[in-house]
């Protein structure tokens, strides 16, 4: 080495070059996240914590008034209460189902298990639309009861109640309990229970002294995770709870868009962020201390066919509960979208109940002839376009970062948590940050000529940028896992055999990672398509996305609006379902778990 480069100057420039080469893959993702995550976040912190000189909004102050503060505490209290209640109910449903999947073998078990996992991956608007189709005032159950009992008013009041919020949360998150606790239960050595029984413990005492203590870490981890998801719930509260209920997230939206009080929204965002970070920290600490217990080393053949009448009754009963709870809302939605069951009150024509494609035909018509009301079909086109941009951007930014992370050095270990930070911020927070950042106050006045328009809020690009920020950590993680499974020796072997860098990439790397890479792309696509939080703050009325259009139609009266919401939600559900199929079929086993 000394002989090859005798001059120190040359050596130094090589050192600089090599460290530059290490930094190069980080350049694009770092600049992107800096612009579209950290600056917006800093804006929220500055405004919410009243560092007015940093926030750029010198004219605004956080309203620490006798009216606002109690409201914050009320909202915080409700957010905790509903999350705690939801978590409890999720355990009540999830634990017996975890037991079912861990201990029994029955036909189509994989399908039943997949059914419980679908809601978790569906957009909130679809889930909300599903429950509306089943239990809303125009839903199947109410229409059936009205027809049978000859009532004028829908008898079941579900939408707009706390019950609706709790039920939807259980629907969403039961799979977490089923997966985490069920895996721990299935991995538990069955002889431990046998041993307890031979030592004189009754079945109940065995559950109490052996099974539950051994499951405690898994139950606790699952509960924390469910609580975290319920705590940050947004779409479900907004769509199913109605105006009476506000969690922190919903209150951010109300303060920002309805009250136009950005400082208040920012303060709420900061509170929300601190809570989320706190819970996440507790969760990761707990998980790392108990991984050995939660992830069993050996898989035991624990599941058996139900034996005896009592076991058969238990299994059948649990399966009935599972199917009616998880399948009915998913079926009610598409069926409702093609059924004409009542006369549209706006029209005088009473048509007979039956199947119809009217709601789908209406998607292409702009009924209101207003510039703000584009045909709903355009919402689908916008959503697909945004999702396409999100996939391209997140893959382009994610690949170099993932490649570097797959062979981590000092730099990567340091940068990794920063890249994952967007996971901790909610999409509503992100949307708020964009509202604060990308307006004309981005730079102090006078820095740029008047003719340059920096107000991105008037352009439709912010939504896909927000979606990319949300999807990027997931994409990086999936690609990183895929790339990490290619040992360095493969590159060396291919190079020795005469392959160039490009040839190695095309012939060795890509064939190995193509499936998980496509899965990562599909994941970004599905996230963007169903994303509601950021979009609800950022979309312009003339550029709606599918979720915001569904929200708009659901919150307006009339059978036609309702039917259009149903048909759009059905389309969204089908496209997302397709995405889920691609992801599940192609992803690496083990990645994408909680």
């Amino acid at each position: 080495m000394e002989n090859a480069h005798p001059q120190g100057k040359c050596k130094f420039s090589i050192m600089v070059l090599s460290s530059l080469r290490r930094l190069l893959p980080w350049l694009a993702p770092a600049v992107f996240l800096g612009l579209f995550f950290f600056i917006p976040l800093a804006r929220i912190l500055a405004l919410g914590l009243d560092f007015s000189f940093l926030s750029g909004f010198t004219q605004w102050k956080v309203p620490i008034s006798s009216v606002f503060l109690p409201r914050v505490f009320n909202v915080l209290g409700f957010t905790f209460t509903q999350a705690a209640l939801s978590t409890l109910l999720t355990l009540v449903l999830g634990l017996p189902l975890a037991y079912l999947f861990a201990r029994f073998e029955f036909p189509s078990k994989a399908i039943f298990r997949a059914l419980t996992a679908i809601p978790f991956m569906l957009p909130t608007v679809v889930v909300a639309a599903g429950f509306t189709a089943l239990l809303g005032p125009r839903g199947w159950i109410n229409l059936a009861l009205m027809a049978v009992l000859r009532l004028d008013q829908p008898p079941v009041v579900f939408v707009g109640t706390l019950t609706a919020i709790l039920v939807a949360h259980v629907f969403y998150n039961a799979t977490i309990v089923i997966r985490i606790v069920g895996n721990a239960w299935a991995g538990m050595e069955p002889r431990l229970q046998d041993a307890a029984r031979t030592l004189g413990a009754s079945p109940f005492k065995t559950l109490l002294h052996i099974t539950l203590p051994l499951l405690r870490p898994a139950i606790f981890a699952a509960s924390l995770l469910v609580f975290l998801f319920d705590f940050t719930s947004y779409g479900v509260i907004l769509l199913l709870g109605g105006p009476r209920f506000a969690t922190l997230e919903v209150e951010v939206y109300i303060q920002a868009l309805q009250m136009l009080n950005l400082p208040a929204a920012s303060l709420l965002s900061v509170v929300q962020l601190l809570c989320t970070l706190g819970f996440s920290a507790i969760y990761s600490r707990y998980i790392s201390s108990v991984t050995a217990v939660i992830r069993p080393r050996a898989a035991w053949q624990n599941a058996q066919k139900p034996r005896g009448l009592r076991q058969r009754i238990v299994v059948t009963g649990l399966l009935l509960v599972l199917v009616s709870f998880f399948l009915l809302p998913l079926l009610a939605l598409p069926l409702r979208s093609i059924s004409r069951l009542e006369a549209d009150r706006a029209s005088t024509v009473v048509s007979a109940p039956g199947l119809t494609l009217d709601f789908y035909r209406e998607l292409f018509i702009n009924r209101r002839d207003s510039i703000f009301y584009v045909p709903p079909f355009l919402a689908l086109r916008n959503s697909l376009a945004y999702a396409g941009v999100t996939v391209c951007l997140s893959m382009l930014l994610g690949f170099p970062a993932a490649a570097a992370l797959a062979r981590p050095g000092k730099l990567e270990k340091w940068l990794d948590p920063l890249l994952m930070l967007p996971l901790g911020a909610s999409s509503v927070t992100l949307g708020l940050g964009y509202l604060l950042t990308f307006n004309h106050t981005l730079l102090p006045p006078g820095w740029l000529p008047e003719s340059v328009n920096l107000n991105l809020l008037t352009s439709p690009v912010l939504v896909p940028l927000a979606h990319t920020t949300i999807a990027l950590p997931f994409v990086i993680r999936s690609l990183q896992a895929a790339l990490a499974q290619i040992p360095e020796r493969y590159h060396e072997a291919a190079a020795v055999l005469g392959a160039s860098r490009l040839q190695i990439w095309l012939n060795v790397v890509w064939p190995i990672i193509s499936r998980p890479a496509i899965a990562a792309g599909a994941f970004a696509f599905t996230i963007s398509l169903g994303e509601f939080g950021a979009a609800s703050l950022l979309v312009r009325p003339d550029y709606p996305t599918l979720p915001t259009a569904i929200y708009r139609f659901l919150s307006q009266p009339g059978a036609l609006n309702y039917g259009q919401a149903m048909s759009m939600a059905t389309i969204l559900m089908l496209v997302c379902g397709l995405g889920i199929l691609v992801i599940e079929g192609l992803r690496l086993p083990g990645t994408g778990d909680f």
Binding site: E189, R191, L192, D194, A195, A196, R197, T198, L199, G200, A201, S202, K205, H209, I210, P213, L214
Partner: protein
Amino acid sequence: MGETVILEVTNLRKSYNGQPLLKGISFSISAGETVCLLGASGSGKSTILRMIAGLENTESGDICWQGRSLAGVQVHQRNFGLMFQDYALFPHLDVFSNVAFGLRMRAWAQRDIELRVDEVLRQTNLGVFARRRVTELSGGEQQRVALARALAPRPGLLMLDEPLGALDRALRESLIKELRGILQRSGVPAIYVTHDQQEAFAIADRIILLHEGLVAQTGSPPQVFAHPADAWVAGFLGLGNLLPGVVTAEGVETASGEFPYKTALPVGRAVTLLLRPQAEVVEHGELKSSVTGRVSDVVFRGQDYRVELENGLFFILAAAPRVGQSLRLKILHMEVL
């Protein structure tokens, strides 16, 4: 050895996936005796233990404890101890609490629990381990904790399912002595399941050999060794060379020649001849009761040599022949099975 029968197993049957595993097993255990269930792996030994414990239901047949049928008696009400092959120690409890578990389930007073656990831990040389986590113990220590846990509630019957199966050979030989001592001192009747005949001979008062879902033979180790009931038993225990043959007027005619043997069996009956491996090299003389062959393998065993011939027969000789040497061997012991 006690004479009163305390456990009576009659005509036990069980099948798995339509394949019969147990086809009518019957045996009994007397007070204070240690019985070995010996059989190849997959012969259903462990299943019998699980059925006696109540962890597995019987298809037909009956299990009686002190004259009363156990059908309908729940696992936790039987008061039997079962030591599992992989020990199944509770990972969330320490050594003391594992051993105390059965006593707590029986709602013993705390003072009595402490006394009994201390006693059992001393018995099994585990005194210093009381507060250790079971996951920190070595295989041999875990094995003793499992034994202590099974013994602590003074079970009416102790069942051990391949208790030394997971340990290496050296440890096994030292533990087997210890185990025999503990079983004798506690006086509890025990059923010991193993596939290893050395273990069975070392520990059992009586051996029950299982083959193809049936009891092939029952008896004390010397009885079984001296008089194997059939060719399978002799083969499984490795008692010698088994030659198929036919009864003649003089003895038994086999592929390796005719062997003189007095038997009451009718001429022409197909039998198996067991040639015990003890043999002497003879130079000349009588051709009867001898085999010839070229040596294919010689293994030194410390006291003597195990010699294999090219025709597949093996013998134990005092002096080593050369490989390839032709030998004439006089058979010292043989039986017709």
